[in-house]
């Protein structure tokens, strides 16, 4: 990854997928890199472009638990890597306080 995300004040590379997002950060999802039927299922679960999610916990096997409003969803690493972040408008809960994973 070559782009630097100013929100992290140059300390870490800009996250491009949910797998790159540090714990505790809030980000906006873009279009997922999966086939249409799986994309539809993700959307039904609320994981669609524009959704704001928080990465809450690290799980056994390299996955994460994310928060989507009141919902808690466990995702494996494969899925995290295919959930791309929205381009151009990354949001973080506290940009200045972004912490390394």
């Amino acid at each position: 990854m070559t782009l630097i995300w100013s929100g992290y004040a140059g300390r870490v590379a800009r996250p491009q997928t949910l797998a790159d997002v540090p714990l505790g950060e809030q980000v906006t999802l873009g279009a997922p890199d999966v086939d249409p039927s799986w994309a539809r299922r993700l959307a039904e679960l609320g994981l669609r472009p524009g959704a704001v999610v928080t990465v809450l916990l690290r799980t056994a096997g390299g996955g994460r638990v994310i928060g989507l409003t009141e919902d808690r969803i466990a995702l494996d690493r494969w899925t995290l890597r295919r959930l791309l972040l929205a381009k151009g408008e990354p949001t973080v809960s506290d940009p200045g306080a972004g912490s390394s994973p």
Partner: protein, 659 residues
């Protein structure tokens, strides 16, 4: 209003039971539909008095349940129906299915001819996951279908600072909305009123219209916008970004290293508590059957002149010894079912699926395959039906082939019996070890199949909704425990009476010696002769004694019948003294010592592992045939027998060296 119910497939299992009382002919049909884990089956049980298996995890319902709902209304056109037929559909996020259970829901709601669809659909939605739950409602609202929305879990949502206004939601959706709490059985009357009003309404028309020119993506976006508007109008949040208790607990139980350790500790605790607490109850029940019950039966038969007949021997040595021995395991089974029900109801088992996901992926299975495999630890038959939740056909075949290696509760009875005879001070540890062996077998056989037959099998992603933890309710846990215990006893009772009768008949036929029918030493009987033909196959594992072999033959039919038929071969009168190596225990010990040339411990472990790994029962074979066909079923039998025999031989040969 339709007169006929749609042709709905149902599932048979030895634990689920759960069928309610059928509604009267011509009763209105009300279907419960909704996303997974919103409480449909709990609502179904509350309304119909049925006993469907429920659990706090997605995908508990994999088939359709039916029951009669006595609404409490006075009946007639003015007051509403006094009784309707209630249908519990498998969970579905939408009418665009990704798995067979979702396809079943679509077929019944959308693909069935209009006159075979339900008269009313009650769309069950969770206040905690309102946006996610309403997508299915959006699709249903596009159909000419009478629809009522039932909102559950508003108490859990309130604890998270979210409140749902049912009137605002009703206005936004254009549909009647009822707040319910099926766990506490609250709101049923309001739902009955709403259903009655809806039934009285004129022919249903779609609430939402869809632009015929819109493609799938546009239609989906339109539904999401409709859902978002309804959620915005009907919900309010207190604005506090709270880390819930569930988040705090999940920090530990899903953690990379600690999570798997907690999972193992939880399972170990279940089996320790089960075996230790149940032991005194078991002994008391055993004394009851071998003492007062047997003496009463002998006296009663004596009064009618059958005191010294084959009938008396059949009753005392067969029925009372066999059935009585099984019944001594009721406290143990009840305790294990209760503990697992508490874990399920609390929401922990969904976390267990997360921490085992990586292992599942290594054997080519998605994390969700953990759910049917966990069900298999209760009973393999519903576990094989539960493979419906997997979208990929090859994943379903592989999971169905691995389920028989999960150690069902029927096998538990044999572990406890054998462990209490040979390892009386470590019964709980031995049982726990058998469950670890079971998990290891699932992984190793899965790896073996993945690297041979299914090299190209891709793993499926894990996207698992984690339900909030909740305090298990006494009523729900007791119901689940009772459903499973009753299912076990119903199946086991029938099988055991049949098996005891067949075994006794074979034991009554003399093939050598001077005995007559019903009065011949068991070692001279047709039963022993049949077992002796097969026993040499087990000589390399050194449990080739005909008593043990005959128990394994019966175990192929049903593991529930193993201990009863085994005790029959010794004509054991006193199964209560197992822990002190009583009559049956002493005889079994002597036979293992003889067949193993003194290496009893190695032979016992070999026997236990064989018992774990070979074919669970004919009911499992029937379930496999239904799900994956005969070809894969017989392939599975071959794998099970091969793995069981090879492991048993290896364990004895290695164990003989080190013991």
């Amino acid at each position: 209003m339709t007169e006929r119910a749609p042709p709905i497939p149902t599932v048979q299992s030895c634990h689920s039971g759960g069928g309610g009382v059928a509604a009267a002919e011509g009763a209105a049909v009300v279907a419960l539909a909704g996303a997974p884990n919103v409480g449909k089956s709990t609502l179904f049980n509350a309304l119909s008095g049925a006993r469907r298996d429920v659990g706090n995890w997605p995908g508990t319902t994999v088939a359709v349940g039916r029951g009669a709902w006595r609404t409490g209304l006075a009946g007639g056109p003015e007051h509403g129906p006094a009784e309707v037929e209630l249908v519990d559909l498998p969970g579905a996020y939408s009418l665009d299915p990704l798995s067979p259970d979702e396809a079943l829901t679509r077929a019944l709601l959308l693909d069935a001819p209009p006159d075979q669809r339900p008269d009313v659909v009650v769309a069950v939605v969770s206040a905690v996951h309102l946006a996610r739950s309403l997508y299915l409602v959006a699709q249903l609202a596009e159909l000419p279908q009478r629809l009522v929305v039932a909102v559950t879990m508003s108490d859990v949502a309130a604890r998270r600072g979210v409140s749902v206004d049912p009137e605002a939601l009703s206005c936004a959706l254009g549909l009647p909305v009822v707040l319910l709490d099926p766990r506490k059985r609250a709101g049923s009357a309001a739902l009955a009123d709403r259903v009655a009003q809806t039934l009285r309404a004129p022919s249903p028309a779609p609430v939402r219209s869809v632009d015929p020119a819109a493609d799938d993506l546009d239609a989906a976006d339109d539904r999401f916008a409709w859902v978002a508007a309804a959620v915005a109008a009907a919900t309010s949040r207190d604005g506090v970004d709270r880390r819930t208790w569930s988040d705090r607990i999940d920090r530990w139980v899903t953690a990379p290293v600690l999570g798997p350790l907690i999972f193992l500790a939880a399972m170990w605790g279940v089996f320790q508590v089960t075996t230790r607490v149940a032991a005194p109850l078991q002994e008391a029940l055993g004394s009851f059957f071998s003492g007062p019950v047997s003496r009463a039966a002998v006296s009663a038969l004596g009064w009618v002149g059958l005191g010294d007949s084959w009938v008396a021997r059949f009753v005392t040595d067969g029925l009372i010894a066999g059935v009585g021995l099984l019944l001594t395991f009721v406290p143990l089974m009840a305790l294990m079912f209760l503990l697992l029900a508490l874990l399920e109801d609390s929401g922990y088992l969904a976390r267990a699926a997360v921490v085992t996901n990586r292992t599942m992926r290594r054997i080519g299975l998605p994390g969700r395959a953990f759910l049917p495999l966990v069900v298999g630890f209760g009973c393999n038959v519903p576990a094989i039906s539960a493979t419906h939740i997997l979208p990929n056909a090859r994943h379903r075949v592989l999971t169905a082939l691995l389920v028989p290696f999960t150690s069902c509760s029927a096998r538990l009875t044999v572990y406890v019996l054998v462990a209490s005879i040979f390892f009386p001070d470590n019964t709980g540890n031995v049982v726990f070890a058998m469950y670890l062996v079971s998990i290891a077998l699932v992984v190793l056989v899965g790896l073996g199949l993945r690297r041979t037959l299914w090299r190209a099998l891709g793993a499926e992603a894990l996207v698992l909704d984690l339900p909030p933890y909740q305090r298990p309710t006494v009523r729900l846990s007791a119901t689940v425990t009772w459903v499973r215990l009753r299912g076990f006893l119903r199946t086991a009772g029938g099988i055991i009476v049949a098996a005891v009768s067949v075994v006794w008949l074979l034991q009554a036929v003399p093939v050598q010696g001077g005995g007559t029918f019903g009065d011949t030493p068991v070692q001279d009987s047709l039963y022993a002769a049949s077992a002796r033909v097969i026993a040499p196959a087990f000589t390399p594992a050194r449990f080739g004694d005909w008593h043990a072999t005959s128990a394994l033959i019966v175990g192929f039919v049903a593991k529930e019948a193993v201990i009863s038929s085994w005790s029959q071969t010794y004509a054991a009168q006193d199964p209560t003294d197992l822990r002190q190596a009583g009559a049956l225990g002493a005889a079994v010990k002597a036979d293992f010592a003889r067949s193993s040339d003194g290496h009893s411990a190695a032979a016992v472990w070999a026997f236990l592992v064989f018992l774990l790994a070979y074919t669970p029962c004919v009911a499992t074979l029937a379930a496999q045939r239904r799900e994956i066909g005969w070809r894969w079923t017989w392939f599975g039998v071959g794998v099970q027998l091969s793995v069981a025999w090879l492991l048993a031989v290896a364990i004895f040969q290695v164990g003989r060296v080190i013991t």
